[in-house]
């Protein structure tokens, strides 16, 4: 089962884990990406996430399908938040359940690594004294 969502609402890790729970699965690997208070030497006050939603949903689905192809995991949940996020807020939750834990870990890590490379979502860091679109400049 693949469950993909992009939302302006607060993400719910417990709900994602509940969705991934499956009597055939012995392990659920979960990644939670949160806004931290520091990047390099700057003190971050908030982040603004922007998204090309129709394409982002398609790219996430591709990633989930590839993870199932590579590791035969049972269930993949990918929820990503957009809009204004503050320190400690959850930006993304990925939950992967599988019969065995190695597949769940490998797939979960593949999904977040690939999401960060291919899914059209952008964050702007607003820090003390300025703002910057992450990754935009060399």
């Amino acid at each position: 089962m693949i469950d993909i969502k992009i939302t302006n609402e607060i993400l719910d890790a417990a709900a994602c884990i509940a969705k991934a729970t499956d009597a055939a699965c012995g392990g659920i690997a979960v990644f939670i990406g949160a806004v931290r208070n520091q990047t390099k030497e700057k003190k971050v006050t908030r982040l603004e996430y922007e998204c090309y939603e129709s394409m982002a949903l398609k790219e996430m689905k591709k990633i989930a399908e590839e993870a199932i192809r590579l590791w035969s995991v049972n269930n993949i949940i990918i929820h990503h938040r957009t809009g204004i996020l503050h320190i400690g807020d959850t930006a993304v939750i990925i939950a992967v359940s599988s019969a065995h834990r190695d597949a769940a870990f490998d797939a979960c890590r593949y999904i977040i690594d690939t999401l960060k490379k291919t899914v059209p979502i952008w964050k702007k860091e607003i820090f003390e004294g300025g703002e910057e679109w992450i990754s935009a400049h060399a």
Partner: protein, 80 residues
């Protein structure tokens, strides 16, 4: 042909808008479109990289844009 172009992230700021309408010759490729954009918005050349998506899919440079395509300019992504 008239093409609607979506701009995101820093490209939206460079272009001053999230949606631009461009008048292009028939047969314009993605590579040609990039040239046109970089001429119109020289700051785009300062980006680390950027991609063009056509109809929600990353597009190669040799793809030819069609009138009803949804074209999006994708600066380096930073989700998660």
């Amino acid at each position: 042909m008239t093409i609607n172009i979506l701009a995101f992230g820093i490209v939206k700021e460079i272009a001053g808008s999230s949606r631009k309408v461009l008048e292009l010759e028939n047969g314009t490729t993605v590579a040609r479109l990039k040239n046109i954009l970089e001429t119109a918005y020289p700051k785009m050349k300062q980006l680390k990289s950027y991609m063009v998506a056509v109809n929600d899919e990353y597009a190669e440079d040799d793809l030819i844009v069609s009138p009803n395509d949804e074209v999006a300019i994708i600066p380096p992504v930073s989700g998660g």
